[in-house]
Amino acid sequence: MENRSMANQKPGKDNFTRNLVIAVVVGVILLMLVPTLLSKRTNTSAAIPASVSADRGYGIVFNEGLKGVPLIDIYEDFQCPICAQFEKMQGDYIESLITAKKATVVYHTLSFLGPESVNAANAAACSADENKFLGYHRALYANQPAENTGVWSNDVLGILGQAAGITSKKFTSCVNDMAYQGWVNNVAQAGAKANVNSTPTVFINGKEIDRKSEYFSADKFKAAVERG
């Protein structure tokens, strides 16, 4: 009310206030938007963990270079409950394909569910340096808390390494320093470019398998892999 009655007496001044407010609001938003847009770009100089290929969307690759085997790309978020179900259902089979060298498998650890997904993806990258990614991957899903409840702090993620047989100090400091945060962002950007709109998403030889039937049936998933 005060403003309005003043406006009637001194319209010029009130208009100045209004325009200033508009300029500040729009200006502040633009000032936030530009660095956000820049931060969402792929940072090619970010540190990447062992067995990661930038050409494969910054995924963690197993059995690179095998000829004549199917290529399985798995997009997942360690906090996603359905990803935990998928791991429970197909995890052993996928690991057996890796050990038997019957498939090239690329894990894309997305982090769209929040900061604890970023922590977990970073920790998983640290475990890849220890050559224990698969075990740590398993341990994360086996101990998955509810989303963003504060359970997956870097301290906890560091200790969780023991479940995968990781005891090195290097791992703990890698987890605590968020050594691969830039890489986690690169994985997310690559996932966005690959048009991945939910997790888990599985591509076999570049084509997504059938969401209605093939994700949660052991037989149908196996058939999809063997079909290639």
Binding site: M1, N3, R4, A7, N8, P11, D14, N15, T17, R18, V21, I22, V25, V26, I29, L30, M32, L33, T36, L37, K40, L110, S111, F112, L113, G114, A188, A192, K193, N195, V196, N197, S198, R211, K212
Partner: protein, 158 residues
């Protein structure tokens, strides 16, 4: 000018502005998911959808703030109305094409289990908000705003 119209304007500003502000802030907290939500409409090329997923929350926040404080009401209402129209087109085409997606209106988004998408309430809500935007564009005068008003209550600029 009817006495109660500025109060209707105030209420419309708060509802439309408040919804936009809340939607923008929730999306801003999970920008990866916001990008995913836009992609899931399968309406835009992936690269454009990824940019829009980042820009959209900022536009919503800006328009929401301006509407709540009552500055540049007509322009803000116009942008808000265009957004609602675009959302309705997006949701309607997703429904018509049988996509199963979360609208991502207030954060969230992406594909959902087939059959669990619920498009009608979303369309109705956005339609209602679009009507508020049209009303504010036509009658921008309202209580407690920063926009300058004439003694008879007509908005001068806006």
């Amino acid at each position: 000018m009817k006495k109660y119209l500025p109060w209707v304007g105030l209420l419309s500003r708060f509802i439309l502005g408040g919804v936009l502000l809340a939607a923008g802030l929730l999306k801003y907290q999970h920008l990866d998911k916001s990008q995913m939500a836009v992609r899931a409409y399968e309406l835009l090329p992936v690269s454009l959808a990824n940019i829009l997923g980042i820009v959209l929350p900022f536009v919503e926040i800006a328009v929401g703030v301006l509407l709540v404080i009552g500055a540049a009401i007509r322009i803000s209402a116009l942008v808000g109305g265009v957004l609602m129209g675009a959302f309705m087109i997006g949701i309607a085409q997703a429904w018509a094409r049988g996509l199963s997606i979360d609208c991502g209106c207030f954060g969230g988004g992406g594909q959902v289990e087939p059959g669990t998408a619920n498009y009608l309430p979303e369309l109705l809500r956005d339609g209602g908000l679009a009507l508020l935007a049209i009303y504010l564009f036509r009658y921008p005068q309202s209580k407690f705003g920063l926009d300058r008003q004439r003694k008879d209550g007509e908005q001068i600029n806006g």
